[in-house]
């Protein structure tokens, strides 16, 4: 979007002109592979058939269920964490902030190995659970844990920034009017943070949906149980179904991601009314 304030300023225009080429190049770089995927899917006769195959549908269902569960868990743990991080200076605050950001920069395969070492059969916690007859590896629960680990930080980070941006005066006024802290949180703070909550939730959900590395290592790959969409794409790519199957699955994920991002954009900007 062109900044109208600088419309008449030649210096701004020269900078704009300078930046146009890299921007277009970047747009093309992202667009070309995605368009190629769609075109190939359109032309390849096998792709349409693959879209409704049990292999694809099973993976899609599992992906939707696990990523939604991950989001719910992320909200349950992440909303309080984000609020505390934004509003309370507690000992270890800085450490906690780093901890929240760590999974975002960590390769998911590292997360997978770490989860295995912790919750696997021989793991620190896993061995105790195993003695109690509870085994996580190769289960749908493991898929959710892997997704939660890599995706929840996106929610917490977004929401923390959202809470921090709210002027505490609103909450103070609410409380001086006799509204309880609990009610103030629900009626004032959370609604004000709604855009951040929504964008954080979308990022968290899509990150969970695209989770591959940690799942593959920690949860394994089994149809209907742990084979989510990204794992199904790899499996299809390496099997007889080959590229057609992988393209079909990729197109489904692309469509889902696109719809979500568009919805999030609308939800995000509506309250401001200036865009």
């Amino acid at each position: 979007m062109v900044d109208r304030r600088g419309a008449g300023n030649p210096r701004t225009w020269s900078l704009t002109a300078l930046f146009v080429s890299p921007t277009l190049l970047f747009a093309a770089f992202v667009l070309v592979p995605l368009v190629a995927l769609a075109v190939r899917g359109w032309r390849d006769g096998e792709v349409a058939g693959q879209l409704t195959s049990p292999f694809v549908l099973q993976a899609l269902r599992l992906s939707v269920v696990t990523s939604t569960l991950s989001l719910v868990l992320a909200l349950l743990l992440g909303v309080p964490a984000a609020y505390l991080l934004a509003r309370v200076r507690f000992p270890g605050h800085r450490l906690m902030t780093i901890l929240v950001e760590l999974p975002m920069v960590l390769p998911p395969t590292v997360a997978g190995v770490a989860l295995l070492v912790a919750f696997g059969r021989r793991g620190v916690i896993g061995s105790v659970l195993s003695d109690m007859g509870l085994e996580l590896a190769f289960t749908t629960t493991a898929v959710v844990l892997a997704q939660l680990f890599v995706a929840a930080p996106f929610l917490v980070r977004s929401l923390q920034a959202g809470f921090e941006a709210i002027d505490p005066t609103y909450e103070d006024v609410s409380r001086t009017l006799g509204v309880s802290e609990w009610r103030t949180f629900w009626r004032v703070t959370l609604p004000l943070a709604r855009p951040a909550l929504l964008s954080g939730a979308v990022l968290c959900w899509t990150r969970a949906l695209s989770e591959l590395g940690a799942t593959l290592i920690f949860a394994g790959n089994f149809e209907g149980r742990t084979q989510t969409m990204p794992l199904a794409i790899i499996t299809a790519f390496e099997s007889r179904a080959g590229l057609s199957g992988a393209i079909a699955l990729s197109l489904v994920l692309l469509a889902v991601a696109l719809v979500l991002l568009v919805l999030a954009r609308f939800a995000h900007f509506r309250p401001r009314g200036d865009l």
């Binding site: 959202g162 499996t235 099997s239």
Partner: protein
């Protein structure tokens, strides 16, 4: 303000994605440098030069690294790069025009996928054989003593995917066992019910057993040798077992055919065969 927050975060995500994509692109195999072989018609052997990309089955990892080191010693002008993965994955990659010069598969099925499409130069050569075995964690908590125990309720079995050579062999073995009166048809259902994961390649199966995450898996005897401190093996009766056959061939699109052919020749030479034998492989004939 809020729009600003989002603006700060989204590009980070995009940038991270970009970095990943670029890193993956850079990690790809470079096209071998073109070799000027002006003296190709002279009887004197021109020294081999350039780079070759060998796409080889995961089970060949150690043996081929040894062979490549020896080969490079004998041909100092040649650099050998590897792409180790499931033969099925490699076949798909080559089919999608990945820059491979040599393909070594752990079964004939995945090699045939490429020869059927005329993507291999000439006829592939069989250079080794291998034998599937059952691997169990060293502590064998599930108490597996024979292939029959794979069907016990509660056993966690991991196999490679059905298109991966060892995954295909494993399913053939289960079928063969189920066809014997001693095991019976119910054996297959009970065993496959214990299957908890279809791994990407034979080494992923081995790792799951090393870690003790699963109770049993089927890999090659050469893989079991690689981690003999961590896993134990249970033999599969010869009558029910399948012999894995390893073919190797030059990929048609190679830009360094001489070096690719020389590498294959080296694999089948006494020195190459010795390295394979040391890794536990059986000779081709």
């Amino acid at each position: 303000m809020r729009a600003g927050e989002k603006g700060r975060r989204l590009p980070l995500v995009v940038a991270l994605g970009l970095v990943t994509v670029l890193a993956a692109a850079c990690g790809g195999n470079a096209t071998p440098a073109s070799t000027a072989t002006a003296a190709a018609t002279t009887p004197a052997v021109p020294p081999l030069a350039g780079k070759i990309s060998v796409f080889a089955a995961s089970s060949l990892t150690e043996a081929f690294k040894t062979i490549a080191a020896d080969f490079q010693k004998a041909n100092p002008g040649v650099t050998v790069e590897f792409n180790f993965a499931a033969s099925s994955a490699l076949a798909t990659q080559i089919d999608q025009a990945a820059p491979a010069d040599v393909f070594a598969s752990a079964d004939t099925a995945n090699m045939t996928k490429l020869t059927d499409k005329s993507q291999i130069d000439g006829a592939p050569v069989t250079f080794a054989k291998n034998l599937p075995v059952i691997v169990i964690p060293a502590d064998n908590k599930a108490g597996i003593a024979s292939p029959k125990d794979l069907s016990k309720a509660g056993v966690k079995l991991v196999l490679a995917g059905p298109d991966v050579p060892i995954g295909n062999y494993a399913r053939q073995i289960i079928d063969k066992l189920a066809a014997t009166p001693e095991y019976g048809a119910a054996y297959k259902d009970a065993t496959l019910k214990n299957l908890v994961s279809n791994e990407q390649n034979v080494r992923a199966v081995l790792t799951k057993i090393e870690l003790g995450e699963a109770d049993a898996g089927i890999v090659y005897k050469t893989d079991a040798l690689v981690s003999k401190e961590k896993v134990k093996t249970v033999a599969i009766p010869d009558a029910a077992n399948v012999i894995a056959v390893y073919p190797i061939g030059v990929v048609k699109t190679t830009k360094n055919k001489d070096a690719a052919a020389a590498f294959i020749k080296f694999v089948t030479s006494a020195q190459g065969q010795a390295a394979l034998k040391a890794a536990g492989f059986d000779p081709a004939s």
